[in-house]
Symmetry: C2
């Protein structure tokens, strides 16, 4: 577990994770991953970093920003596999998020299908209208649907990066 083979240079980590070295450096700069250095100043990552990187990739799919991912990663141990409780805590947040996204997509599909049925898209009737003010378009991709979250309409969705009018 602490053999010399556990100390991956960045190219190795890049190769194994499928990410560019530049991206990994960037992640390290942001504090998402960590490395030790050789006497010459080159990075050496532990194998556990592979886990963190996989986590980051998955987080991006769920729609987390690197900042949010960073917060999530902070709950996991840096150099060993998380235990069940730790993992549970994170994964539960995720599955909730995933469920929410799925629900939103299904809602949109429902609206679209409704449109097919009614031949509408002629204002008003159609579920695609009523954008609900400043809801959607939170930058980092498919986040909130237009017209969704009627309970938080008129307010920036909670927990989402503020910016962007």
């Amino acid at each position: 577990m602490t053999s010399p083979h556990d100390r991956l240079p960045i190219g190795e980590l890049a190769g194994r994770s499928g990410l560019a070295a530049s991206a990994l450096r960037y992640y390290e700069e942001l504090g998402l991953i960590h490395s030790e250095r050789t006497s010459g100043g080159q990075r050496r990552f532990t194998r556990a970093t592979l886990r963190r990187v996989a986590f980051i990739r998955a987080a991006q799919v769920v729609g987390l920003s690197l900042e949010e991912t960073s917060a999530a990663l902070a709950k996991l141990p840096q150099d060993r596999a998380p235990n069940a409780a730790q993992w549970n805590s994170v994964a539960r947040t995720w599955t909730r998020r995933i469920d929410q996204q799925i629900a939103e997509l299904e809602e949109l599909r429902r609206k679209l299908t409704g449109c097919i049925g009614c031949g509408c898209l002629s204002l008003r009737k159609c579920g695609l209208y009523n954008p609900g003010d400043a809801a959607a378009g939170s930058g980092a991709g498919a986040r909130y649907l237009l017209g969704e979250r009627p309970d938080t309409v008129g307010v920036d969705a909670p927990g989402v990066t503020p910016g962007r009018a």
Copy 2:
């Protein structure tokens, strides 16, 4: 249908659509929407533009870029409601895309749940690994999952903007 009230100034369209005027100007610049001008050079949009704008919003939720949205919009009439056939053709593409996204999210959830069960995330065993090379991270948000689309692995996903190593 062609009353003077059908000619919306940009602020009106912005208010009704929930988008910023600047965004609408940007869309017009890209050719997604169109306007006529008053003698003084101010934009006047038809009500039908509301439909196009709603369409654009929905398209963003599905993860389409404005360029892709533009292509989709080209299939719909500019100043009237689409007929069933036109709408069908577009909506079908969308529902397929939505279904695909849902499937991907469910797959990720499955993997996460598996992780909870097995207490893993300890390399190898876990479905979260094997990133499948250059798959995910196509820029505009939750597009393709890591490890997904095993049939197109190693190739840029078809129909998706090339860039980004």
